[in-house]
């Protein structure tokens, strides 16, 4: 789950990371009031869950409350990479003399959280990693000991921070680590962490990704989810316990198991088609879940054919077939469908689908070829 900048920074602040004064506005008038209250030059920042807000014109300065209202009016409602801006953060503009990067990610190969710092702040860290990897300092964090102050100092010296800021920097690093751990985050990033004109450290931008699997113990964080993070179909799928990702192709697919679902997408491509989605119905799916899955697939207007690939183990082929039949009764469609059912109760399943006049196939390869041909109207 992604958090907005303002949400991330508020969490950081709870752990002692200094952030600019500011507040969130959903209307231009609110933006004006916040700017008036701050009584200084402000920066108005669109809150959308994509990168590149600045380049898209979604981050702008305003010198006085009137201008803040005007700018907020322009930014609110703006479309940034397909997302509509519904909120802006109005922050006191910082007097920036230096920009630093500080972040924590989970390093899968090392199986540890890793903290990274760089003197090249303000640009994407992936960019720095590509162009000047030697400018990034990394250190592993022991999951039992947590981030030690000396590690924070090592990072500070490593990026050439002036000596009088080292202690504050180490405190911020430890605060960021606490925010990361206490929120079950998979990423926590301050970019940039700025050195202000009067020589203080300030987190002017923040980003957090949370581990969905950890949300059960963070009710207050789970509440922060922005519905715009997912498409309507993805939300619907999540409600039914389905794993669904929309893609741009024309062949919808419904599969049990994530690995098999990916392999099914791949084989569609191998035979000249493009998958319209990833969809895993999970293990032991019942008919109603299958029906919901089919409705979601068919709600995509690009879909010209549907491929069912079910390997029955715990999941019973006849149960899936009944679900497909049930869904077809509810959602009449002319989209051609190809089914390949193997494993537990495959005979019963095939019989049910044959009655529904569905194209069947014995192997995955054959099923994919049929689906591609059917989508082109060649079958």
């Amino acid at each position: 789950m992604k958090l907005h900048e303002y949400q991330s920074k508020r969490i950081f602040a709870q752990y002692g990371v200094p952030i600019p004064r500011g507040d969130v506005a959903t209307t231009p008038v609110q933006a004006r009031q916040i700017a008036a209250r701050l009584g200084k030059r402000v920066v108005i920042k669109s809150q959308v869950l994509v990168g590149g807000r600045g380049k898209a014109g979604g981050i702008r300065l305003a010198d006085h409350p009137d201008e803040a209202e005007r700018v907020a009016d322009q930014i609110l409602g703006m479309n940034i990479k397909g997302l509509t801006v519904k909120k802006v953060l109005v922050d006191e503009a910082a007097d920036i003399s230096k920009e630093i990067y500080l972040g924590i990610v989970i390093d899968r190969a090392r199986r540890r959280p890793v903290m990274m710092a760089s003197a090249e702040g303000g640009i994407e860290i992936e960019e720095v990693a590509r162009a000047t990897p030697e400018r990034i300092i990394r250190l592993e964090i022991d999951p039992f000991l947590g981030l030690q102050a000396y590690q924070g100092r090592e990072l500070a010296y490593g990026i050439g921070l002036s000596k009088d800021l080292v202690r504050d920097f180490a405190k911020i690093a430890q605060g960021l680590y606490q925010a990361f751990v206490q929120s079950d985050a998979s990423l926590a990033e301050i970019n940039p962490l700025v050195v202000t004109g009067d020589g203080k450290l300030l987190a002017v931008d923040g980003k957090m990704l949370l581990d969905d699997n950890g949300l059960f113990r963070h009710f207050e964080l789970a509440e922060m989810r922005d519905a715009d993070e997912e498409t309507a179909e993805e939300q619907e799928a999540r409600r039914h316990g389905l794993s669904y990702v929309k893609l741009d192709g024309e062949i919808g697919c419904m599969v049990n198991g994530a690995g098999l679902a990916m392999a099914t997408m791949d084989i569609i491509k191998l035979h000249g088609g493009e998958p319209a989605n990833f969809l895993d119905i999970g293990g032991g799916a019942q008919a109603d879940k299958v029906a919901a899955a089919l409705r979601i697939i068919l709600s995509d207007p690009n879909v010209k054919g549907v491929l069912f690939n079910i390997f029955g183990g715990i999941t019973r082929c006849d149960e899936v077939a009944r679900g497909i039949r049930e869904a077809l009764a509810e959602v009449p469609t002319t989209v051609p469908m190809v089914a390949r059912l193997v494993g537990t109760n495959e005979e019963e399943g095939r019989q049910i689908l044959a009655e529904a006049k569905m194209i069947t196939a014995a192997t995955l390869s054959e099923a994919a070829q049929n689906a591609v041909a059917a989508a082109r109207g060649e079958l």
Partner: protein
């Protein structure tokens, strides 16, 4: 021979009184696995499918001498269940549970690294040595004893491949699902090392997917240490970056973990990579 589980496996089921735990306990018994104990805190003294239930793993091990454990408990309790099994001295723990928080698994793995316990999973189908023991949720009947070791990050995709092998008359020494999470207890290299040392295993099938760099490290290991042929398949060539494809670990992040780079890593060290799952069985039969 085989790896990790066999006729001598004395299995303990953690979460045996739950719906999943009870169902799969019966399935494993039907396959011939020697299930000796179950654990559910608060349900000690009861019985499930003829198996005594204990309150703690320590007690279950003391009484039944269980030497392996399988975990079906819900995600919020599963990490702790692994620790309890390790603390009771169990040498092999298989965790089926999906949805354990990553930071929990980091701590569990760090703890296990200092102990003599091997964890398989989490978020995996388990492990089976055909004809001897099934410690997992895979359909047992599709397997048959033979010379091919199978290791995979996936569940049903593995069944698909095993089924095709069996249909071609090619049996398996042991088939093991290592799990679809970003942090797991046993990785490809661990299993490759075990297969290399197992006399029954004459070749290996490795099924990977997008996300992380475990396959790339496996390729390096194969180049340096494996004498047995390996056939690979990587799922997710059409997966878009930044999207989690069902498994928590199946995600291309920061441009890293694509199927293309994994396939290239294998091909660079002479591992044959199947274009689709159906091709794996035919590639394997060339070596039999």
């Amino acid at each position: 021979m085989s790896i990790l589980v066999n006729k001598d496996t004395r299995l303990l089921v953690q979460g045996i009184t739950g719906r999943e735990g009870e169902f799969h306990t019966r399935q494993m018994q039907e396959y011939g696995t020697n299930v000796v104990a179950g654990v559910t805190p608060g349900k000690g003294g009861g019985w499930v499918s003829g198996i005594p239930v204990f309150d703690t793993v320590h007690e279950a091990v003391d009484v039944t001498e269980a030497n392996a454990s399988i975990i079906y408990v819900p995600a919020r309790f599963a990490a702790e269940a692994v620790l309890e099994a390790a603390d009771a001295g169990i040498k092999l723990v298989v965790c089926i549970t999906e949805g354990i928080p990553v930071l929990d698994m980091i701590r569990v793995r760090a703890y296990l690294d200092c102990r003599d316990t091997r964890l398989i999973g989490p978020n995996c189908p388990g492990i089976i040595t055909p004809g001897e023991a099934k410690v997992g949720i895979m359909p047992g009947h599709i397997h048959t004893p033979g010379p091919v070791g199978v290791v995979s990050r996936s569940g049903t995709l593995t069944y698909e491949v095993v089924h095709a092998l069996t249909e071609k008359g090619v049996g398996q020494s042991t088939a093991i699902g290592i799990g679809g999470d970003p942090i797991i207890g046993t990785d490809f290299i661990d299993v490759l090392r075990l297969f290399e040392g197992d006399p029954q295993t004459r070749q290996v099938v490795l099924i990977g997917e997008i996300g992380g760099t475990d396959e790339q490290r496996a390729a390096e290991y194969i180049a340096q240490h494996m004498s047995k042929p390996v056939t690979a398949f990587i799922a997710g060539q059409t997966a878009p970056p930044g999207k989690r494809m069902g498994h928590a670990g199946a995600i291309i992040e920061g441009g890293e973990g694509t199927a293309a780079e994994k396939i290239a890593a294998f091909e660079a060290v002479g591992v044959r990579v199947a274009k689709h799952p159906g091709e794996i069985a035919s590639l394997v039969t060339e070596f039999v």
